[in-house]
């Protein structure tokens, strides 16, 4: 209370000469309703967006994607990589006023690894032997083996022990009425409509300047665009078409700032390597050469993306700049196919080998027009080099269960979201090729296995970088996936918000420091 009073006085003081800022509100929208705000159940985009505003982890990524302290002020990794000691910030309070301590971290860990708590994030903490709190501001984590991605996994939101100790996490009302340490507190939740958050006056980095955060549920993209045109939304992600064509009006330029940077994800073709058709690397490379990736970006993304060369985010330390994208070269593709024994002997326009025509089916999921269009473009390009590709579009649930999990496919066109840590063990390590696991293409390469293991053991960024850059090289030349493109993220933000800053992490990393000049405010909830 005293602190609040002091800051009020201070506010009055500044009022005299500095420009005045309004509390205002930031209104954003999502296609889907958040399902659960407890950080380790918040798996969907909507839930994790809100959850991140309410909770803090021990560490976080800053705008340049470097790990920095969040609830932890700093940490130390033992030379053998088996022990991480976090020192916690002093004086942090839960939103209900109870002090945050190391016991909360221990409690969060216990819940994450509790067999009765079905969290998809449990895998991150499997290699942890123990988490202890030697004193209220120190957390000591001991690993069974060195595991560098583990450090980033402590970005997981920490939950309050005093509120959840006696709760059944699966039924607790806390999932809709969370109490965290974060910059915003949940105020109200109208199912299917909107969630209101208010600034936490006691936030340890200082209360956010924007007083209210309104999260609306608008399932239809056309509707949210109309809401932008009436300035009822302050921010949303645009589709490439909207970005390139529909927002080119004077009104839009005056009211909204558009941003563009690579999104955390890439679209690829994955080949089922158990299928003899794709076991020859020359065949996979030929397909890669036959596809004009720039063309796909031009047509499906209106040019708002870039060619992908590997499974890492362009511009990050794991990304190998020396890997050049394969050119569009149908002649070379045909040559490679011929080398692998595929030529058109019967003159029907389709290459064949031992009496078998080169024909396969690519699967992609329903509800994503960009991917379906990409398939059609690829189909046309492959036909030019004598490869017949059929397209099958399957509903998502069915796609995962019947085709991916059971590895019953020839090729798929899909996308991976990239996490901030470059560890891709689960996707390319040969031990992860069982049904239901994520190396569903059954890729097996001893050097890749070894590098993936090593990348997890090393902590210093420069040593890890060498490992992942080499991985990038191998994956690009072996082409178990044909990497297609990285779509751009295309957010817009209303121009009354000042202080928006684009970093490698996109916009929003400094949201709590955004301001609105007083004479431009649109909302007053005070």
């Amino acid at each position: 209370m005293k602190a609040l009073f002091a800051s009020l006085c201070l506010g009055l003081f500044i009022f005299a000469d500095a420009p005045a800022f309004a509390s205002d509100a930031f209104v954003t929208a999502s296609i889907a309703e958040p399902s659960n705000l407890i950080p380790f159940f918040a798996t969907d985009t909507a839930s994790s967006e809100i959850s991140r505003l309410v909770f803090n982890g021990l560490v976080k990524y800053d705008k340049d994607l470097k790990l920095v302290g969040d609830l932890a002020s700093d940490w130390r990794v033992s030379p053998d990589g088996l022990e991480i000691v976090f020192r916690l910030r002093a004086g942090v309070l839960w939103q209900d006023g109870v002090p945050f301590t190391a016991e909360d971290v221990v409690f969060t860990f216990q819940k994450l690894t509790d067999p009765a708590v079905p969290t998809p994030y449990g895998g991150d903490f499997e290699k942890v032997l123990s988490v202890t709190a030697p004193d209220p501001l120190t957390v000591k984590v001991v690993y069974k083996e060195p595991f560098s991605p583990g450090l980033a996994s402590w970005g997981m939101g920490i939950v309050p022990r005093h509120l959840l100790e006696k709760e059944n996490l699966l039924k607790t009302p806390f999932s809709r009425r969370p109490v965290g340490t974060g910059p915003y507190m949940l105020k109200s939740w109208k199912t299917g409509e909107r969630i209101d958050l208010v600034a936490n006056p006691r936030y340890f980095e200082g209360a956010p300047d924007i007083g209210r955060y309104v999260f609306r549920v608008i399932p239809d993209q056309a509707t949210s665009f109309l809401e932008l045109e009436t300035e009822n939304l302050d921010s949303t992600a645009l589709s490439p078409l909207q970005f390139a064509k529909q927002t080119d009006s004077g009104f839009f330029r005056e009211k909204y700032a558009k941003y563009r940077y690579p999104s955390f994800g890439y679209v690829y073709i994955g080949y089922n390597l158990k299928n003899p058709l794709f076991s020859d690397v020359r065949v996979r490379r030929a397909i890669g050469l036959a596809i004009d990736k720039e063309e796909i970006i031009r047509v499906t993304l209106m040019g708002l993306g870039r060619v992908s060369t590997g499974p890492f985010l362009p511009g990050t330390w794991a990304y190998n700049d020396s890997v050049r994208p394969a050119p569009h070269d149908p002649a070379a593709a045909r040559r490679l196919l011929a080398e692998a024994g595929w030529t058109d002997t019967d003159g029907d326009g389709i290459v064949d080998k031992d009496g078998r025509r080169f024909s396969f089916t690519i699967l992609t999921n329903q509800g994503n027009d960009q991917r379906r269009m990409a398939c059609e473009i690829i189909q046309k390009r492959l036909a030019e080099v004598g490869v017949e590709m059929k397209i099958q579009v399957v509903e998502w649930g069915t796609f995962l269960k019947e085709f991916i999990d059971k590895q019953r496919f020839e090729a798929v066109l899909l996308a991976w979201q990239l996490s901030r840590d470059p560890d891709i063990f689960d996707i390319f390590h040969s031990s992860k090729a069982n049904p239901g696991e994520f190396n569903f293409i059954s890729y097996k390469n001893e050097e890749v296995d070894r590098l993936l293991e090593e990348g997890r053991r090393l902590f210093p960024e420069n040593e890890r970088a060498a490992v992942y850059r080499r991985l990038h090289e191998i994956l690009a030349s072996e082409e178990p996936y044909t990497f297609l493109y990285v779509p751009d993220a295309l957010p817009v933000v209303h121009r009354r918000f000042r202080g928006v800053e684009v970093g490698a992490a996109g916009i929003g990393h400094n949201f709590i420091r955004w301001t609105v000049p007083e004479d431009e405010a649109r909302y007053d909830f005070s």
Partner: protein, 321 residues
């Protein structure tokens, strides 16, 4: 007595419908566990097993149905797999808005559809009648999403006289009671109008057809022959009889008042039954799907039962033997 007998007969029917639904939903590949851990490399196989066990998805289908059924008869429909909310609560939150919009639009349809039907029946064959018929069919065949977006763009963006979507303004809470009512009315205007426009054809054409048919009856000729005014023939004799089929159709559409349309609710960002059901199907959220189906099946059976009974009440020939 008859009512109770019929009601008792409906119970096994309901159980049958629900079992079929349960089986059919489960035939769709993928479970809630797959869609939740969808392509999340951090979701291990063990985590998925844990989830499946928790939801009881590892047991045989019949055992699952028995477990669900024994809870359902006590009106316990369980909790959503997706957000852990009680199914009854989720449905309870979605019903009022769907009911309100459907109710208002039915009211509008009756208010405009019946006079329109009468008007066109009297002018059967005239150019004006044909034009009116053309218009109602245009309303019937135009895609809802297209009409909705067009109206939203026109009234919301160009004219700025109505809100584009949603149910409440951002500052709804701070308004006075009258202000809130006005705010809600403004938000409901477009959805109700679209829903009524697209539904007008059904009732107005039914009214039209029924009245034209009635006007050909002998007793109408008799009424005219005995010198009654055209007005009295039309409203006193013909309309009352012609309204019967309309009343039946309206009666049968009562359970439909609780059903929402996905496209419509998505475009207007209305958290109604259609969206609830749609999203739960895609998330394979079995408890919610079954909850909605129970409601739908029970209401349909109840509606049919009431319709049957009311026929019996109106027409002695149908009375149960």
């Amino acid at each position: 007595m008859i009512f109770l007998k019929r009601l008792a007969a409906a119970v096994p029917l309901l159980a049958g419908i629900l079992f079929m639904s349960f089986a059919v939903i489960r035939l769709a590949p993928g479970t809630a566990v797959d869609t939740q851990g969808a392509m999340n490399p951090r979701m291990t196989a063990q985590a998925r097993e844990k989830l499946a066990e928790l939801y009881g998805l590892d047991k045989p289908l019949l055992a699952q149905f028995a477990a669900w059924g024994s809870r359902a008869v006590r009106l316990d429909f369980g909790r959503s797999f997706v957000d852990g909310e009680e199914v009854t609560k989720k449905i309870g939150e979605a019903i009022p808005v769907t009911l309100l919009i459907n109710g208002l639009s039915l009211l509008l349809i009756l208010l405009f559809g019946i006079p329109l039907g009468v008007w066109s029946a009297v002018r059967e064959g005239s150019a004006a009648e044909k034009a009116a018929t053309f218009c109602v069919f245009l309303g019937f065949s135009v895609p809802t999403f297209w009409l909705s977006l067009l109206l939203m763009s026109w009234f919301g963006v160009t004219l700025r006289i109505l809100p584009v979507a949603g149910l409440h303004a951002l500052d709804h809470e701070t308004m006075s009671a009258a202000g809130r009512l006005w705010d809600t009315a403004r938000h409901l205007a477009l959805p109700v109008a679209v829903s009524a426009l697209t539904g007008l054809a059904g009732i107005s054409r039914l009214m039209h057809g029924s009245l034209v048919e009635t006007l050909r009856q002998n007793y109408i000729r008799t009424a005219r022959a005995k010198g009654l005014s055209e007005r009295s023939v039309l409203y006193g004799h013909a309309l009352r009889n012609a309204l019967l089929p309309v009343a039946t159709v309206v009666g049968l559409s009562i359970p439909g008042l609780l059903g929402g349309s996905v496209i419509f609710e998505s475009i207007f960002s209305i958290p109604g039954m259609g969206r609830l059901f749609f999203s739960s199907v895609f998330a394979r959220d079995y408890p919610v799907i079954m909850g909605v189906l129970v409601l739908g099946a029970a209401l349909t059976l109840l509606g049919n039962l009431l319709a049957d009974l009311s026929y019996a009440a109106i027409d002695p020939r149908i009375r149960a033997r």
